[in-house]
Subunit: 328 residues, 2 copies
């Protein structure tokens, strides 16, 4: 291992998931060693297929909400490599399922954070990059969501356990962390798509090409970020000279987003032209969904980042990518 | 049980602790039935000795962080009585211990909340009164701590798990709660004292009457609330006609507080006149302590409440009460 002994290593929790794939590619391109830890409940090994032959990539299967499995994974990673940072992308990604059964987010969204931080403390790893969410803000109506507003009243167990994770990481920053980067982002699109509105629509149309049934009345409006822009933003924050131990940044497009109706129309045009779109009622697709919000990205823009794609461009690109992924 | 069948019942989690005693007395005086659930790790049955002969009071020993014990306690309470609200006062109260070992606050401060809410959902109980803390704000320096500020970066695992609890309760309010009252308060004093600076000083002087060793340089300044004022404030919030499902209020005195040095001098004067006071260094007594903060109580005052005692009066009264409690 002498050739790699000085190579800095990143642990990426949930690295076989949707965002993980793009992050792992970026970290490898920076000349880093990467240890992905994933339980493969939602992540898949083939998401990383492009990098499986790279000796700089190690994949460990472990459920990070389990203390023994988390510790074993860290023992293995730190025993072989010089780990200086952890990226935490592991979480439940099915918000309605978590609303139905809170144990899902307790375990997958929060306990993973808790055990990761515990192992980081034991192994003296000082940099924690945490994928939080716009869901921590809850439904504040017309209030612009800035990083410094309150109160924070999440409306889903997912949002609650993301906020709990931020809180636990914050206490860890007071204790042993050298740097805590908290990334709060809303809907992210791209491939490999494992969930989300576009994949849902594409799959529905594959089954019934003549009609697309949409939950809600289609007026829900949200902003969307492409995963490539998200990872670029994370790198800008990570590279920033720290004034404080904790950096918290909203990451999102600089527009007011698009409606579900518009997305449905674009998906239909791309994969099943002429299909009828049938809307439901109400402007919330599911419990725990925040129908509309205004997301401030002033802070991350002041760091010199802006997204290459706005919501419309991100959605259009993702529809193309997901249609290809689904072989349509 | 026909005489009590229409009597509304409050579950008080942690009701055998410091604040529990005063709250239980208040609820009984309102003609309510009260079921105290406590694991007696820090609470003590004798704290409720004045009410043990009252048939309206039931005490159940259970560890609420345990799913099976929490559920069994709720089965018992709801099987016998008409429970319409839960007060949650159960938590770790030793912040430094929780900083040393995060599992303490994970279990005692957060998991208790999580299991209580789960049982409330199962048993259709719609009102949750939660004892949160000023610790959720973290150390924001000169920023006035209002209910609507952010970001919330607690510096202790205690503060982190109180914030996690608020978050989980908030998601429950979106789901099944009818009303969520969140009380954020700083240092509370009074009897039965189980922890805190006054009891600590009194006990130290009982051992070494000639000298009082103080952690830190004594310049830490904090505001203190007497437990009687706290419970009165909680009742004002609970009685308020709700505009929203969630009420979050800071509760505290309307002054900038007193220094540790001043408290030390008052304790010496009361229990060991002439004792020398020896200060340490630094203005943080222990990890996780917020040295100084400015606490906004504008909201609770707008509801018509103000404390009968300011910080000085609360401390002086508590010193008297605690000296008597310790038979000095």
């Amino acid at each position: 291992m002498s050739t790699t002994s000085s190579q800095q290593c990143s642990i990426v929790a949930g690295g076989a998931g949707f965002i993980g794939r793009t992050l792992v590619e970026e970290l490898l391109s920076q000349g880093r060693r990467v240890v992905v830890i994933d339980n493969f409940s939602r992540g898949r090994r083939e998401h990383l297929s492009a990098f499986l032959s790279r000796h700089e990539l190690t994949i460990i299967q472990a459920d990070l909400s389990s203390r023994s499995q988390c510790e074993a994974a860290f023992e293995s990673a730190t025993g072989s490599y010089s780990v200086d940072e952890v990226w935490h992308l592991a979480a439940n990604s099915d918000i309605p399922a978590g609303v139905e059964n809170p144990d899902i987010d307790f375990k997958d969204t929060f306990q993973t954070t808790y055990e990761l931080l515990r192992s980081m403390r034991r192994h003296g790893i000082g940099i924690f990059n945490f994928a939080s969410s716009s869901a921590i803000y809850g439904d504040l109506g017309a209030t612009t969501l800035r990083e410094d507003i309150g109160p924070l009243f999440p409306i889903s167990n997912y949002g609650a356990m993301k906020l709990a994770s931020e809180a636990q990481a914050s206490a860890a920053a007071e204790g042993f962390l050298n740097r805590l980067n908290i990334f709060r982002f809303p809907n992210v699109v791209g491939v490999p798509a494992t969930h989300g509105v576009i994949l849902d629509f594409v799959n529905k149309l594959a089954k019934t090409p003549e009609v697309l049934h949409v939950l809600g009345d289609g007026t829900q409006q949200k902003s969307y970020l492409h995963v490539s822009d998200l990872v670029a933003a994370m790198m800008v924050v990570r590279a920033k000279q720290a004034d404080a131990k904790i950096e918290v940044v909203n990451i999102g497009p600089c527009d007011e987003g698009v409606t579900v109706k518009w997305i449905a129309e674009q998906v239909v045009a791309r994969v099943s032209p002429g299909a009828r779109i049938a809307f439901g009622s109400g402007n919330r697709g599911w419990v725990g969904d925040v129908p509309k919000f205004i997301y401030s990205t002033t802070r991350i823009q002041s760091y010199g980042w802006s997204p290459a794609m706005g919501s419309e461009a991100a959605i259009l690109r993702a529809i193309d990518q997901i249609a290809l992924q689904q072989k349509l």
